[in-house]
């Protein structure tokens, strides 16, 4: 480090810029092939305030961006997960209409590429924390449609034994999935902590979670991303910018148009992808996961797309201008990927039909099993609040702690300058 003399007689040392460049050298990568140019505004008309859209909604649908990494078989697998995700949610909607569901149903319609292609980039030892709409991510991670259906039906055999609903479940043993809570953003520091725990055991892993354009407004988003950035933890944070947080448009959540630019403020790379293009989502997620596994720290990925239903099944989303739905309807992630696969001749029309039938058959079996399964015994409500003796063995997931155990013999406290005014 060079010292430079200043007016105070050279006591101040200056850190040359090169020493800090690792944390501030990032730029925002934009993988999109189109950049929609419209925004939602509040407009008063005839004594009513409504959301209206301003800008160009007539641009043509872009092609799927060729993936740098995905081969034919992988594309087909992602396509099947997306189909399963959507058809399962259609089955859930039907179960709701039949009165089989307790509470509401949350949909990821229009966001299947984001859920499925991102989770597809994870390896077995990596971790995932879904949000409410990432039911596709749970399928990719190894849960069955039956698990999710039973969650919604509050069955005894659901992953939470009827104690919680929807995508609120996980598995710390096999699938490395952390159950979310309803409060937005709290999984971000949790996933940073999983990466931290793994690193203490000598492993750098990728820990993926999601946040929305609305959830990005929370304080814990900032706390969690900053924590991960400072410690270079392998967080892969996907901002699902689906334009609506319940009924509030993204324009009223944030003054920046591209939510990925926030990455720069944390000293981490930011990436923008078209969230309806599975190949873009995968490529960005894959590169972020690889970066995490190299121990280089977190990545913020913004996936731009549209929530194609209301907040939950009760919400008809009448506040959304119809032309916005129409714009994104043309960019349906499954239709786009299907067209891409057919055009590349990676799947024939017959194979596609057989694949869809296979998905339907799987869902039908899961639906029947879920419907037939029993509700929980009432008394089980009282169990398992605490982890009692013999209930769980706490084991190191990645073998052994590699962090230094001891350095120095001297354990005596020194004379302290503790907060002595507190006495």
């Amino acid at each position: 480090m060079k010292k430079s003399r200043d007016k105070d007689g050279g006591r101040r040392s200056i850190t040359p810029p090169a020493a800090r460049e690792t944390s501030n050298a990032h730029i925002i990568h934009d993988l999109r092939l189109e950049r929609p140019r419209f925004r939602v505004v509040e407009a008063a008309r005839d004594g009513q305030v409504r959301y209206e859209v301003r800008g160009d909604l007539n641009s043509p649908v872009p092609p799927i961006r060729e993936s740098k990494y995905l081969k034919k078989e992988q594309c087909l697998e992602i396509y099947r997960w997306m189909l399963l995700n959507r058809r399962m949610e259609q089955a859930l909607e039907n179960l709701y209409k039949q009165g089989q569901v307790v509470g509401g149903v949350y949909f990821g319609l229009g966001q299947e590429a984001c859920s499925c292609a991102s989770a597809y980039a994870l390896k077995k030892d990596d971790w995932l924390a879904p949000m409410i709409r990432n039911q596709g991510s749970l399928l990719v991670r190894g849960f069955s449609a039956r698990d999710i259906m039973m969650q919604y039906m509050a069955k005894a055999g659901s992953p939470t034994k009827g104690r919680d609903a929807s995508s609120h479940f996980g598995d710390i043993v096999e699938r490395n999935v952390c159950a979310p809570i309803s409060m937005l953003g709290d999984s971000i520091p949790v996933m940073a902590g999983v990466a931290m725990g793994a690193r203490m055991q000598g492993r750098n892993i990728a820990c993926m979670t999601y946040i929305g354009d609305g959830g990005q407004s929370t304080g814990v988003f900032h706390e969690g991303l900053n924590f991960a950035a400072v410690r270079k933890l392998g967080l892969v944070l996907i901002v699902e910018n689906n334009l609506w947080a319940y009924s509030t448009p993204a324009e009223m959540q944030s003054a920046v148009e591209d939510l990925a630019v926030r990455a720069l403020g944390y000293g981490v790379p930011g990436v923008i992808v078209d969230g309806t293009d599975a190949c873009q989502v995968y490529d960005a997620a894959h590169e972020a996961c690889e970066r995490a596994r190299r121990g280089e720290g977190p990545t913020l990925i913004e996936a731009k797309m549209m929530r194609m239903k209301g907040h939950a099944i009760h919400d008809a989303a009448g506040y959304v201008p119809k032309e916005v739905f129409a714009f994104w309807q043309k960019r349906d992630p499954i239709a786009r990927l299907e067209k891409y696969l057919l055009e590349k001749k990676w799947i024939t029309a017959e194979e596609n039909k057989a694949l869809i039938e296979g998905v339907e058959k799987e869902l039908e079996a899961d639906r029947e099993a879920a419907v037939a399964s029993p509700m929980p015994e009432p008394e089980t409500a009282a169990a398992d609040v605490y982890c009692e003796e013999g209930c769980h063995e706490i084991k190191l997931k990645y073998g052994a702690v590699k962090a230094k155990v001891a350095q120095k013999e001297d354990s005596k406290p020194k004379a302290t300058d503790a907060a002595l005014h507190f006495k």
Binding site: G170, G193, M200, E223, G224, A403, V405, F422
Partner: protein
């Protein structure tokens, strides 16, 4: 063995647990090279290294969230709150993420949340609070509040080994004021077990943390008047030792519940209800609550002294109850 302070007892307990189990690590604000605002982790970073004695950004939600994440991989994190007052910043992570994880999805959360609590040090509204009831009210969390150096050491060790989130309240007034000779050999104190701090026949004072010492002092004064007081130190607030409470009331037939926390919604109300549920027939008088006022903790010494329960309050109430 030389006598050691309450603070040193916590420090030794944590140190021994970190030596025993490499999965145990500490994280918090200024706990590394600085050794913590009160120096509980003084010297830890040199011995255990910066990976296990981790200075964090000032971000309590992230600290608690990250601790939970690390626990999911089998680690046993110990979170320090610089002052326990700041636990409010992590309220959601504690009550919704940690407390409910085992019940909801079978994920144990062996995370210790520790920090200096309590007043009588003129710390004002944000450096003197007793936040136990926010968390005692939340199923899934254990709450510990030791009153002696022996219990502080034995209980921090048990808290680290427990498979649940444990809120460990260190009374900062006691940090350097009390000293005790501790056994040379290793010991733990089980969670959920109260102790009789002073045996007596005429009436019982059920209390915890710094107020144990107020109760004992009052008992000495009352003894001179021929009132023989039994003092029960709860040590753990959740799970509450209902048997120990019932046992002392069955013995003396009269009970005062004393704590430094404020009155409305304080643990005293819960203990009173427990006495009614367990041993109503044994009572020869009303259960008396002695607590702080229902106000924020005021800063100026005369105000804080008026706010806190003191020996004189206990003596006065005990005389009345004895005569009842």
């Amino acid at each position: 063995m030389p006598a050691i302070t309450y603070l040193e007892a916590i420090r030794q307990g944590l140190w021994e647990e970190m030596e025993r189990d490499p999965a145990v690590f500490c994280l918090g604000e200024d706990i590394g090279i600085y050794g913590g605002a009160f120096k509980v982790t003084d010297g830890f970073i040199h011995h255990f290294g910066p990976e296990r004695v981790m200075d964090t950004p000032i971000a309590e939600s992230a600290i608690v969230g990250a601790a939970f994440g690390a626990a999911l991989t089998g680690m046993r994190p110990v979170v320090e709150f610089q002052f326990i007052d700041f636990i409010g910043c992590a309220f959601n992570q504690i009550t919704n993420t940690l407390a409910k994880s085992h019940y909801r999805w079978g994920a144990p959360a062996p995370v210790v949340l520790r920090g200096p609590s309590g007043g009588n040090v003129h710390g004002g509204p944000f450096h003197s609070q007793n936040p136990e009831m926010y968390f005692a009210h939340t199923p899934g969390i254990k709450v510990v509040a030791p009153a002696t150096a022996y219990d502080a050491k034995g209980l921090i060790k048990s808290a680290v080994r427990d498979n649940n989130p444990v809120l460990f309240l260190e009374h900062k007034y006691l940090y350097r004021r009390i000293k005790e000779e501790l056994p040379a050999e290793e010991f733990t104190v089980p969670l959920g077990k109260a102790r009789v701090a002073r045996a007596g026949r005429d009436l019982s004072i059920v209390t915890y943390a710094a107020m144990v010492h107020v109760a004992l002092e009052a008992a000495e004064t009352l003894a001179k008047e021929g009132i023989d007081v039994e003092v029960v130190d709860l040590r753990t607030l959740v799970p509450l030792d209902r048997e120990a409470i019932a046992e002392t009331v069955r013995k003396t037939n009269k009970a005062i519940v004393l704590h430094e926390d404020t009155k409305t919604g304080g643990l005293a109300g819960e203990i009173t209800a427990v006495i009614h549920e367990e041993c109503f027939d044994a009572l020869d008088g009303p259960v008396v609550r002695i607590t702080a006022l229902d106000t924020p903790v005021p800063f100026s010494p005369p105000l804080e002294e008026f706010f806190l329960p003191e020996v004189g309050d206990v003596v006065r109430e005990a005389r009345k109850l004895k005569a009842y």
